[in-house]
């Protein structure tokens, strides 16, 4: 093999390396720098400590403001992710087994909502779920009572599931579409019933898609701030709302501290998940 395969040598990589350094890595250093400094850029632990210790009184009960907010974000994001998985997995399976023409059509139908601006779609849900909204006028015409959804945690979960369901379906579908049908037939020939084919063949093979679907839903849901503002009526502060609120109030150091904590927690979670994937999918830490 000749050594000189590209005409440009190292020069082609230089712009991207510089860009990644300046605009990906250095900004993260700035998050840490702002998180651990005060307004005069003197070193302090106050911002990070405030996240863990700040207290406020809600309905006569004293609670740790930001820990409660963070816990709520995590809870709603996990609930939404589980619902997305339960709804999306069967759909991905149905899609992968459909005729080629149908698969193409369903792919397009799944992606159209993704291309529409998510702010407008979320706002549409707000008008649907309102006390005087379409859902309630529909229910009253049917003679059923009204339901109060807007401003509840349920409404926020509906919004998250709606916005992020395609991110769960697509990775699982792309793994399932590549799955060898002969494996399923072989399992059946060897005496598996439908349930055990699903449990012992399809599910383990689709695990990489499931895991990437989980991250693609969990990460945006845990950090969202628009969905909770609109569908939670601003009553349900999530960690994203807290960060955005401090940004608007120009408390950049505290906003940075919360972003820093969120980033560290997510990085740890991702690392844990990667280990789990390697273990379960590749049978050990091969990488």
């Amino acid at each position: 093999m000749t050594k000189k395969q590209t005409p440009f040598g190292g020069a082609v990589l230089a712009p991207y390396s510089l860009w990644a350094l300046l605009f990906i890595l250095v900004p993260l250093v700035f998050v840490a720098y702002y998180a651990f400094t005060d307004n005069a850029f003197a070193f302090t632990f106050d911002n990070v400590a405030r996240f863990f210790t700040a207290k406020s009184v809600v309905d006569g009960v004293e609670q740790r403001t930001y820990l409660v907010i963070f816990w709520r974000s995590l809870k709603l994001a996990v609930i939404s992710t589980v619902i997305c998985l339960l709804l999306g997995y069967p759909l991905a399976y149905i899609m992968a087994r459909a005729s080629e023409k149908r698969q193409k059509l369903m792919m397009t139908l799944i992606m159209i909502p993704m291309w529409m601006n998510f702010l407008i779609r979320t706002y549409a849900w707000m008008t649907i779920l309102q006390d005087t909204g379409i859902l309630n006028s529909f229910l009253t015409t049917l003679g059923l009572g009204r339901v109060h959804i807007i401003g509840t945690e349920g409404a926020v979960v509906i919004g998250m599931v709606y916005d992020y369901l395609p991110y769960m379906v697509l990775p699982i579908y792309s793994i399932m579409a590549k799955m060898d049908v002969k494996l399923l037939e072989a399992a059946r020939d060897l005496g598996c019933n439908s349930v055990s084919v699903l449990r012992r063949v399809i599910w383990p093979l689709s695990l990489p898609g499931v895991l990437s679907g989980i991250t693609m839903v969990l990460i945006p849901s845990v950090s969202t701030f628009y969905i909770s503002q609109k569908l939670g009526n601003g009553k349900f502060f999530l960690i994203g709302d807290a960060i955005e609120g401090q940004y608007v109030a120009n408390n950049l150091h505290f906003a940075a501290a919360m972003a820093f904590i969120l980033m560290v927690i997510l990085l740890a979670a991702m690392a844990g998940m990667k280990k789990f994937t390697n273990h379960r999918v590749y049978g050990g830490d091969t990488l």
Partner: protein
């Protein structure tokens, strides 16, 4: 498909399209109400066309998306070529991590991190407004780059390395071999990457929100500011137009696909 699968699929798609259907219907509503339809009218479309700020934001969004796409496609393709030739394992691993960061980090952290740096540098330079079109462009190129690289790099890996070598053996200069052989070979990856970059930029709200200045508003930011107050169906008219533009683009790409298939046959 079995009946149960059909019903299940239908329910999911009804859930996905219900809000969009409501947008479409109420954009033609005569009254301002978003729950009671009182009569057909095009008045919200007329109002939209008179809303200069929104129209300007559409132009801004397109300008930003095209610029971000062009820069990230060229830089990302060059980077992929460079990464392929990289011998140092350490450097390759570092670059992989750097490429992964904007994709795995939540948008809010990417946005905050860039904003903090821009504000800090702006203060050092003594600028009154540190956020502008340029900071937004930098942010958009940054989050588009990984998508381009992830599309181009696998194409380069799949390519037979003897192809450009053969071209050089036949007398091509390395430069000519690169543009005449390598580039056409990886073109599908470059195109997909460019399209992804364009749509990511077009649709981004969170990162734009933190890195935009007062002077340059994109459509998602304009919509955000509009939904802070009570919204008029004007915005629904806008959503309807976006929907039909997407539909038209999909139909066109579908038709050209079919034509290509026929030509191949």
């Amino acid at each position: 498909m079995k009946v149960t699968s059909k019903i299940y699929t239908a329910i999911i798609f009804i859930f996905l399209f219900a809000p969009i259907a409501i947008l479409l219907v109420f954009s033609f509503n005569e009254a301002k109400s978003l729950s009671v339809f009182s009569g057909f009218s095009l008045k919200w479309y007329r109002e939209l066309l008179r809303d200069e700020a929104t129209l300007q934001s559409v132009r801004n969004t397109l300008l930003l998306a095209v610029s971000a796409m062009a820069i990230s496609t060229v830089m990302g393709t060059a980077a992929s070529v460079g990464i392929m030739k990289l011998r140092s394992k350490w450097l390759r691993a570092t670059l992989n991590v750097a490429t992964d960061i904007p994709m795995t980090n939540p948008d809010i952290i990417t946005g905050i991190s860039l904003m903090l740096m821009f504000v800090f540098v702006g203060r050092l330079l003594g600028l009154a407004n540190s956020l502008s079109f340029w900071t937004m462009l930098i942010a958009h190129v940054t989050f588009c780059l990984p998508y381009v690289i992830l599309q181009v790099l696998p194409r380069l890996r799949q390519m037979d390395p003897s192809l450009p070598e053969a071209a050089m053996d036949l007398g091509c200069t390395p430069m000519r071999a690169f543009f005449k052989v390598t580039i056409p070979e990886i073109m599908p990856g470059i195109l997909t990457g460019a399209i992804m970059a364009f749509t990511m930029s077009l649709d981004d709200f969170v990162i734009s929100y933190f890195t935009s200045g007062a002077g340059f508003q994109t459509l998602p930011i304009r919509i955000y500011n509009m939904t802070k107050k009570t919204v008029t169906p004007k915005m629904y008219a806008l959503a309807t137009i976006i929907f039909f533009v997407i539909l038209a683009l999909l139909l066109i790409s579908n038709l050209t696909d079919k034509k290509e298939e026929k030509q191949k046959q």
